[in-house]
Amino acid sequence: MSKTFDVVVIGAGPAGYVAAIRAAQHGKTVACIDEWKNKNGKNAFGGTCLNAGCIPSKALLESSELFHRAQHEFKKHGIKTGEVELDLATMQKRRASIVRQLTGGIAGLLKANKIEGLIGHGKLLAGKQVEFTPVDGSVEVIDAKNVILASGSSPIEIGIAPFDDDKIVDSWGALEFDAVPKRLGVVGAGVIGLELGSVWSRLGAEVTILEAMDDFLFMADRDIAKVAAKEYRQQGIDIKLGAKVSAAKAGKKGVAVSYDDKDGSQSIEVDKLVVAVGRKPHTDNLFSDDAGIHLDDRGFIIVDDECRTRVKGVYAVGDCVRGPMLAHKGSEEGVMAADLIAGEVAEVNYGVIPSVIYTAPEIAWVGKTEAEVKESGRAYKVGSFPFAASGRAKAMEQTAGMVKIISSKDDDEILGVHIAGPMAGELISEAVLAMEFSASTEDIQRTIHAHPSLAEAIHEASLAVDNKALNFPNK
């Protein structure tokens, strides 16, 4: 007799494992199927985020940032170190150990919630049956009352620069270099390209980023993108805009990369090339033809606002459905799907999802950019405050960047908050919370912020919206 579960989740990334836990909290019997395999051949829960994305990249960003500061900033603080040396093997070991602890933590969480973690491939069949092919053992068919598809995404491979797992690599490969490449090429100046470029640049690589679009960080506010571009270039990262890669050939020594820009055909020679042009939904062999699941023309599973597929009782969440490919967006969708299955009211507020780029300075934003607000036709007002005027930022010797707030002129509602600066990814939470509660600029103005703190920059920017900034001249 086949097993039966109230909820079967396919995928144990941040969308899937969170959905499984919430469903279990609702008293459901839950199985969570996952087939992620790490480069050492071991299976691990956590999906891209924990194994190959958010977490390992942050580990390396932190290490490389400290290395960079020890080299360049300690002197200013009056700290003499002698020559600062890099021990990449230890740095990489620390990264791997963090990943191991966290993925192991998920296995523990699943267990604590009495979720059956199934290692292998899950495939949705018609009638809410799930075919489970374990890593070892025979295929079995599981009956599910509800199914949550959370199969994630994978890096896009481009024909002109196919991955060879050695010289031309994807973002995962770029986290696991065992030596600092002398010259590193990155295709794509998106979040992933900039973060990886920052890591290896700080550790000594000569980094060139080739971006096909003419606008730098097109999805960010222009003022922020301008600050960011200036800072990255100052750090020595060579960002070439409007540069369309036409060929990449891996030879014995390195990779010859050709690209076209406004000045015609160009070429560079690099030791390693990271292709980070985006990610595509991963739905290979995820469902049978008669399962009733449909993909849109970009390969995303078609769902409604509440992540329902066209099959009753089957949901899809995270990177395999529309919307930004962000772990926290996927997790919230997972929670929503589990709550809906339990008969509760749930929704995801897609208008208020923060985005963060963990470079130096960090970039973070929520809501609309000034250009988007302008295009919407809504009358608006803007206030900004530079970290150069923040006591805390000065003390930290991290004064690059600013906070910019865009608010409705008519009713003072906050429409967008954009930060480039130290700890922007932490600071943005205040803005997210405010916007989630439809706060006005005045609400932030009237909220006491600790002194001295980086958060004061948000307070001052909110005051600047009404030309009432106290620690910076108002325009």
Binding site: V345, D412, E413, F437, S438, A439, S440, D443, R446, T447
Partner: protein, 405 residues
């Protein structure tokens, strides 16, 4: 034991309802079947009675919130004794004034700093403002739009503000008042525009001499009322004439669905009645099976319930044809709008003595113009005109009603 108070099942055509007013606060005790809350739908106000006696321990959904069937509105602790005294008058400064609270609240509402400042400045109470923020919270934007639409809030100056300048302006009384449509009004608006846009509406006119109907009524008024306990009105004559005409021209009783015509083999007649809350069209079913008295009784029943606001959703749904009488307000002629998905509507008008030529002589006759608006997509002009003529013929010679000719 705690019981969840839920939104009762809503009829098929109604997707959601707005919570209009709580009649009970948190901590108040209620007896079984006592009305707890009013929900306004597109069509009627629903009451939600207490399923048992007890105390309201939690109000989940605040006034002004849109709810769906099955949503939990409140939690009721079963039992006779109240847990604690009702929330006493708050000492919040915003509530010290005598400003009339339009909505009942479940206690002091927690608000954000900007909202508190605005409320204080205008001597308002958060309960007066409909919140659109997360979980129905009041935002600064909500208060600002409330101030824009509400005269009294605009006219009432703050405590310390000089009044001289304002009072001059107020004297001119060139203020405007912006009031959101009730759900009923908004639904009426939506349906009328829908009809205008989707049907090929055309109106044909005729007039009817009501001499015979009036004399019949005069002759049998007392005996009819004595026997049946209800007045013999004009409407039953019209309804019966309409049913006979519908039998002759079934397409007038039909409705359109995409490219199909659906013929109804029953005669459910909607009668438009005005109520304080707006126009309503209760439906009287199987009119072909009814006597004049049955019809008058049924009409009285729905009309009085429409006025009292206690009409049920079932009374308002369905219907294959509608009669509207603008005559009670003095209208001489009008072009009614279809009550979709129906395909035709009869407009009755005021009865007026007018000179008519009868057998070569000019005589005064009680005349009424009739209007039939029809959906030209499925009803041809010939059928519409003949349908109206058939009604005219029956009313001018009511014996036809008896003989069905």
């Amino acid at each position: 034991m705690s019981i969840e108070i839920k939104v009762p099942p809503l009829p098929e055509s109604v997707s959601d309802a707005t919570l209009v007013a709580w009649h009970k606060n948190v901590g108040e005790s209620v007896s079984r079947d006592e009305n707890l809350v009013d929900l306004e739908t597109d069509k009627v106000v629903l009451e939600v009675p207490a399923p048992a006696s007890g105390t309201i321990s939690k109000i989940v959904v605040e006034n002004g919130t849109t709810v769906e069937a099955g949503d939990v509105l409140a939690i009721l602790e079963e039992g006779e004794i109240s847990i604690e005294a009702p929330v006493a008058a708050s000492i919040a400064p915003a509530e010290k004034t005598a400003a009339p609270a339009r909505k009942e609240s479940s206690g002091p509402i927690k608000t954000s700093p900007a909202v508190r400042r605005l409320l204080d400045e205008h001597d308002l109470d958060a309960t007066m403002v409909t919140g659109t923020g997360k979980d129905g919270r009041v935002t600064k934007s909500d208060v600002m739009s409330f101030l824009k639409t509400d005269d009294s809030a605009n006219v009432t100056p703050g405590d310390q503000q000089p009044v001289a300048n304002e009072s001059v302006e107020v004297g001119l009384d060139r203020t405007e008042q912006r009031v959101p449509m009730t759900r009923l009004r908004a639904r009426i608006a939506e349906r009328l525009v829908d009809a205008q846009q989707s049907a090929a509406m055309l109106t044909t006119f005729n007039e009817v001499d009501l001499t015979e109907v009036m004399s019949l009524r005069k002759k049998y008024r007392e005996s009819f009322e004595k026997k049946h306990g209800v007045r013999l009105g004009f409407m039953s004559f019209f309804a019966k004439a309409v049913v006979e005409a519908l039998k002759l021209y079934p397409v007038v009783n039909a409705s359109v669905e995409n490219t199909d015509i659906i013929y109804h083999n029953y005669f459910d007649i909607g009668i438009a009645v005005s109520s304080e809350r707006g126009l309503m069209v209760p439906v009287i079913r199987d009119v072909d099976q009814m006597s004049f008295a049955d019809f008058e009784l049924a009409l009285n029943d729905v009309a009085s319930r429409a006025q009292a606001g206690t009409i049920s959703m079932d009374d308002l749904t369905g219907g294959t044809f509608t009669i509207t009488n603008g005559g009670i307000f003095g209208s001489m002629m009008s072009t009614p709008i279809l009550n979709q998905p129906q395909s035709a509507i009869l407009g009755m008008h005021a009865i007026q003595q007018r000179p008519m030529v009868v057998d070569g002589d000019i005589v005064a006759r009680p005349m009424m113009y009739l209007a039939l608006t029809y959906d030209h997509r499925i009803i041809d002009g010939k059928e519409a005109v003949q349908f109206l003529v058939s009604i005219k013929d029956q009313l001018e010679d009511p014996a036809r009603l008896l003989l069905q000719v």
